[in-house]
Symmetry: C2
Subunit: 307 residues, 2 copies
DNA sequence: CACACTTACGATATTCGTAAGGATT
DNA sequence: AATCCTTACGAATATCGTAAGTGTG
C-alpha cells in the first residue's frame, strides 16, 4: 500500500463534489483517468469507498472511516510540504555565521541589512568569535560557515578568500612618524606599540609577517577597544588591519600604511567540505561573494578621504 | 508534488542507515532503484536532502527540516492505514441493527454471541423497534439494516426473506379448544382473544390474514408481555407468531397451530439498495443468512417437544 | 435518450533491475 | 583494490486520454 498525496486529493475532491466529472476537472484529469484512480485506491485499500451508480455517488461506511483519516492527513501533509517549500524558496530558514569582530563590525552591517531585506523570513544569527572559535564552530556544525582571517583547508573544511585588507600604523598626530606616507616594518623598530594577545588573529598575523624580527611592546591587550582607548589617550601606538580602523577617531589620529612581508590579511570564507549548507546559508554566501570585496574597497576609499 | 508513502519510508530508511545499499534492502529495492528514488524525491522537493559521497551520507539542512516533517507524517500515515486495515479486516467497526422485539429475543442471542466471538473488535448495537421504526431507521441510515416482518421494497430499500414463522393460538389448558391439534381462523370465531394494538406487526398481519372476517376482541394491548400476563392469568387467549411463544410458560398453557389465509409471517432482512453497508454489517448479514432459518427451525422443534 | 460512471485500448510516463561508470579510501 | 553512489538503458509497470460500453432515471 503506497498511499499518495494525489490519491488523498482525489478522494477529498470526490467527497466534496460527489461527482466524478467535476472532481476529475478539479484534479486536472479526464473523468476516465479519475475513475481508475479512485478504483485503484479502493483496490489498494481493499474496500469500496464510494457506493455509486450513474446518478449518485455516496460514501460507504469504510469511505466514512477513510474520510476521517484524510480529513486529518491531507491538511497535515499539505502544511508540511508548504513548510518545505518555504525553506526551498528561502522564505524560512536559519543562517548561523561565525565572524571575526572586525569583519563583523566593519563589513557585515550593510550586507546583513540587504540580506534581511531580500529574505525577510530567514533568521540570521551572527556570532563574533576569535579565529580559532570560528573554525571550531564550523567544524562542529554550530555555524553554517565563518568569515575569518586564515584557516587550514583540512579534510573537513575548505576556505575561499573573498577579500583582503592591509595594515596601518596608528598614532597621535604629534608622533615622530605621524607625517610619513608609508612605513616599513623596520621603521617601527624601537617604537613601542600596543599589541594584542598571542591568540588574536591580528597578533598572529603580525608575528608571522615580521618574523624573525620583533617590535617593541608597550601594552598587550585582549580587545581592540582597549587598544583604541590607549592610542586615543596618547598612551601608545598600534598596528591594525584596515577593518579595525573605523574603531579609531581618525580626526585626531594618523593611520599610515605599513608594508609587511605578509602584507595582506585574507578575509576567508570557511565552510565544511560536505556542502551541507542550507539554501539560506548559500544565499548569504553568494551575497558575500558579491559584496564583501566591494565593502572593503568602500572602506578603504573612505579612509583615504578621511586621511 | 505528489508525496508518496514509499518516498517517506525510503527517506526514513536512509536517515536511519545513512547507507544507500542497506536502506535499499530495507525497502526491497536494488541499490540503483533506491538511488533514483531518493534522487527523484529531491528533485520533486527541489533541494538536496542528503549530502553524500561514496563514504558518507549525511542530511543537509533542508534534509533536517524534511526529517522533522517525516518523523511526524510517517507514523501518522501508517497509523491511519493500519486503522483502515482494521476496518477492512473487520477487526474494527460498528454494526447497528434494528429488529422486532420478538425476532431479537427469540432468534438473535446465539447469533449475536457467535458474531462477537468471530469479530471481537466490532461494536454491535441492536435496537429493538416496531416494524415502522425499523424501516425509518434503515431509510435514515440510523441502522445498517433491519430484521422485520414486512416492508415495501421501494426506490431506496430492498428486502430479502430469511425465514418464516407461523401462528399459534395460546390458551389455558382448560379452554374448550385446548386439546385441538390444529385450528382454522373460523374455529376462533366467537372466542374473544387478546389482540395487539393496530400498529403492531402481529396485529397487522392477523388483520390481513383473516380479512374480511374479524375475531372477537377481549383486550387490546401494546406489549407482548402484557398479553402474556393476561393469558397466563387466565384472563384471555391470544394468537401470536412462533417467535413470541418462548415468552409464554407452555408448561401451563397450550399453543395450537392456527391455519390462516396468510399463514406465514416473513422474517425479512431490510437493507438500503445502495449497498453502502460496512464490511462489518456485511459480515453480520452473512451470518444471518447462514443461521437465522436454522434458529427458527430449532425454536419450532423445541416447541414441538415442549408441547 | 441523456447523463454519468466503467471498461477497453493504445500511447506516454514512471519505475524497476542489470550492468557499467566514477569517486573515495 | 574494495566499497559505495550514480548513470545508462532496456524491460516491466502504471497512468493517461480517447472512445466505446453500460446502466439509471
Amino acid at each position: 500500500m503506497n498511499l499518495t498525496l494525489r490519491q488523498m486529493k482525489a478522494f477529498a475532491a470526490l467527497v466534496a463534489t460527489r461527482n466524478f466529472t467535476r472532481a476529475a476537472e478539479h484534479c486536472s484529469l479526464t473523468q476516465s483517468a479519475f475513475s481508475t484512480l479512485i478504483s485503484n485506491l479502493e483496490s489498494d485499500i481493499g474496500v469500496r469507498l464510494f457506493a455509486r451508480n450513474t446518478r449518485n455517488v455516496e460514501l460507504t461506511a469504510e469511505g466514512e472511516v477513510f474520510l476521517n483519516i484524510v480529513n486529518h492527513l491531507l491538511p497535515e501533509t499539505e502544511r508540511a510540504l508548504s513548510e518545505m517549500r518555504d525553506h526551498v524558496q528561502r522564505r524560512k530558514g536559519r543562517v548561523v555565521v561565525a565572524a571575526l569582530p572586525t569583519i563583523f563590525s566593519a563589513l557585515l552591517p550593510s550586507i546583513i541589512s540587504a540580506f534581511l531585506r531580500d529574505y525577510p523570513g530567514i533568521e540570521l544569527i551572527i556570532e563574533d568569535a576569535s579565529n580559532g572559535t570560528c573554525v571550531d564552530l564550523v567544524r562542529n556544525r554550530r555555524a553554517d560557515f565563518a568569515l575569518c582571517a586564515y584557516a587550514a583547508s583540512g579534510a573537513e573544511l575548505t576556505t575561499e578568500t573573498l577579500a583582503w585588507d592591509t595594515f596601518y600604523f596608528v598614532c597621535q598626530k604629534d608622533h615622530p612618524l605621524a607625517n610619513r606616507k608609508r612605513l616599513s616594518a623596520d621603521d617601527l623598530q624601537g617604537h613601542p606599540i600596543v599589541v594584542f594577545e598571542k591568540a588574536s588573529s591580528i597578533r598572529q598575523h603580525l608575528d608571522a609577517a615580521i618574523y624573525p624580527k620583533q617590535w617593541l611592546h608597550s601594552f598587550q591587550v585582549h580587545n581592540l577597544s582597549t587598544g583604541v582607548g590607549l592610542v586615543t589617550a596618547g598612551l601608545g601606538t598600534t598596528v591594525v588591519p584596515t577593518l579595525a580602523l573605523p574603531q579609531f577617531d581618525l580626526r585626531n589620529l594618523r593611520a599610515i600604511p605599513v608594508a609587511l612581508s605578509i602584507n595582506r590579511r585574507e578575509i576567508c570564507l570557511l565552510r565544511r567540505k560536505d556542502s551541507s549548507e542550507s539554501l539560506a546559508a548559500q544565499a548569504f554566501i553568494s551575497l558575500l561573494r558579491e559584496r564583501l570585496a566591494k565593502e572593503v574597497e568602500l572602506l578603504t576609499s573612505r579612509l583615504a578621504t578621511a586621511g
